[in-house]
Symmetry: C2
Subunit: 367 residues, 2 copies
């Protein structure tokens, strides 16, 4: 009943075994299987062994893959790229789409966005639709910063995938994220350079990667200069929490002279709490936020010094790396985009207009 | 050289004339041309004459249209609907997409979103791409509330189109918008019911339809009860303007006891201006906003009474009307979706949790 006679396989399968079959049997991504079989030293020895065993069991031969890979490359290109977002309010998805379109447009591609609301079943069904309509590749846009499970190779059917904002848990995939560790490190560097010595951190929920990473970056700078924060408080991404936390801090630490808030919402609440207690911002207490969510940061009173998530740049990078993958030059690992600091009145009373943000990127492999 | 012999035409054309040709010659939309030729009494007599003349000039025959229309209906359906948004930050586009998907998903359709940044050339090129990939229809999502030029029939190629948030200028098209007039009327009704008598309006820029409509609705209620606002100030959609306007109002109108702000950003600024001047909100001055932009309205201090733009419901309605058009039952005109009022602390000091929003819709033809 087998349609093609297996040539040298130990155990015949009903169709010519593909790299995806090997990946499925070894329970790894296609990218990982490819790397293992190409011996790129990017997978652990035990994973390598499991993949090679799976390939032998299925009678997979690399020539099969080459044929299939080149048929993929010969596949009629549609010039369309699918973005799948789990974002509800569009704060990440639209700037990401805009950035991606800038890069894609320059090579005559266009982007289509579909919304999965973070529901895996809907995500799969959207990808099926996009694949059926011939998209050339996928960008998966998150909204939490938390690592997510990689897409099943059965779902992506060999389409190249870039993960943006929320990285894939599989380091062999290509993920583009904000450099939250770098932002945290720079925030404390900046506050120390202003002469502030009694610095507290008001964070969001502890189970968000962004909260962990920004706090970790801050800690790195504290350690470097042999300082310690006077307090690190985790709770919620809300103004209410920022206000409550600021009140707690003032009661317990009268010398408090700076707060690094891990979101602009928290920062606005903190400013309110400080002002209600008769503190001047920034003269008595300097406040730094994160997100550069314009409606919050630039409309605040005082306006907020903050870090820009640089989402359009994430979209551009994701698109560029996807085009590279389509051209046969895939990237593997987690790449970061710098969050430029935007200085406003909450740390600098004379700063009426924000510093030009540099928009520089640096990327590094953290796999 | 004509490929098909014109049967009874006065002036032969190179292809069999279609309804789109007639519409183009008469400089109207296909929908308007259809209505004129079907004598539905929905177009003015002069437009009707122009369209009939164009049809005669081209030798257009209705049988041609029926054939073409039924071929459109017979066209292989993809189950895909294209959304084109001019929104940059996603505040309107993503909730609209979510609402549309709810309705479309129930009839096994899915939605693809593309971003045009309000650039007509990009909008056209996106529609070309979507049409080439077989979408069944289009939803055009605005972000200003201002009426927009209808899409060129040459661009839409007979695909049904629904305009959402920003209506089409052609009343023969189908547009779904927020009932801003109704929201304005209800805002003043509510403030009067609270016993407030010295009511001011702080508006956004005068050239936004939303500002005009909300102010017009407010004026309608004032007139009904034989009241007048103490001031109506137009300027910008910003917190800074809200704050400045509130300060002006307090200086000039010491009896001021309520402000209807035409956006939540303005309302937040107004609250700040009032509090800085020693006024209590809502005990001395009640404040109402508009948008129910959650991060602004629910995080404010006091939380803001406001009107919800009900964007997911706009998306649902747009999808439903598009499905109707695909089933051969098109709608024509401008339909409104109610903006439910959400009562919070800025008008009601005991209101800790917001009133359940009703989510009711009423739609009416305003063409």
């Amino acid at each position: 009943m087998s349609r093609t006679a297996p040539s040298r396989s130990v155990k015949p399968v009903r169709h010519r075994p593909t790299l995806a079959d090997v990946a499925r049997l070894a329970n790894v991504s296609v990218a990982t299987a490819s790397k293992a079989l190409n011996r790129t030293d990017r997978v652990s020895a035990s994973t390598q062994r499991a993949i090679v065993a799976a390939a032998q069991q299925l009678g997979y031969r690399k020539s099969t893959e080459s044929a299939s890979a080149s048929s993929t490359h010969r596949r009629q290109r549609s010039g369309l790229v699918g973005l799948i977002t789990s974002d509800y309010n569009g704060r990440f998805a639209l700037p990401m789409l805009t950035g991606a379109e800038t890069t894609l447009g320059a090579s005559n591609h266009a982007a289509l966005l579909m919304s999965s609301h973070g529901r895996p079943a809907l995500e799969r069904s959207h990808i099926d639709r996009l694949a059926a309509h011939g998209v050339d590749g996928l960008i998966v846009v998150g909204n939490t910063t938390n690592p997510r499970p990689p897409l099943d190779p059965k779902t992506t059917m060999g389409l190249p995938v870039i993960y943006a904002y929320d990285p894939s848990r599989d380091p062999a995939d290509c993920s583009i994220i904000c450099d939250n560790v770098g932002a945290g490190a720079q925030a404390i560097e900046y506050l120390l350079s202003l002469g502030r010595r009694y610095i507290a951190i008001i964070a969001g929920p502890e189970d968000f990667q962004a909260a962990k990473d920004r706090a970790r970056g801050a800690w790195r700078t504290f350690t470097l200069y042999d300082f310690r924060p006077i307090a690190v408080l985790f709770d919620a991404w809300s103004e209410e929490w920022g206000e409550r936390a600021a009140q707690l801090l003032i009661e317990q630490h009268p010398h408090l002279d700076a707060i690094y808030c891990l979101s602009d919402e928290i920062a606005r609440g903190a400013v309110r709490g400080l002002m209600a207690a008769g503190k001047r911002v920034p003269q008595d207490v300097a406040v730094v936020g994160h997100d550069n969510w314009f409606v919050f940061a630039a409309n605040a009173h005082p306006t907020l010094t903050t870090f820009d998530n640089n989402i359009p740049m994430l979209g551009k990078m994701a698109a560029r790396y996807l085009l590279d993958a389509l051209a046969g030059r895939p990237h593997h690992g987690v790449f970061t985009v710098e969050c430029p600091m935007v200085v406003r009145e909450s740390t600098d009373p004379d700063r009426r207009t924000p510093l030009e943000s540099t928009g520089r990127i640096f990327s590094r492999q953290s796999s």
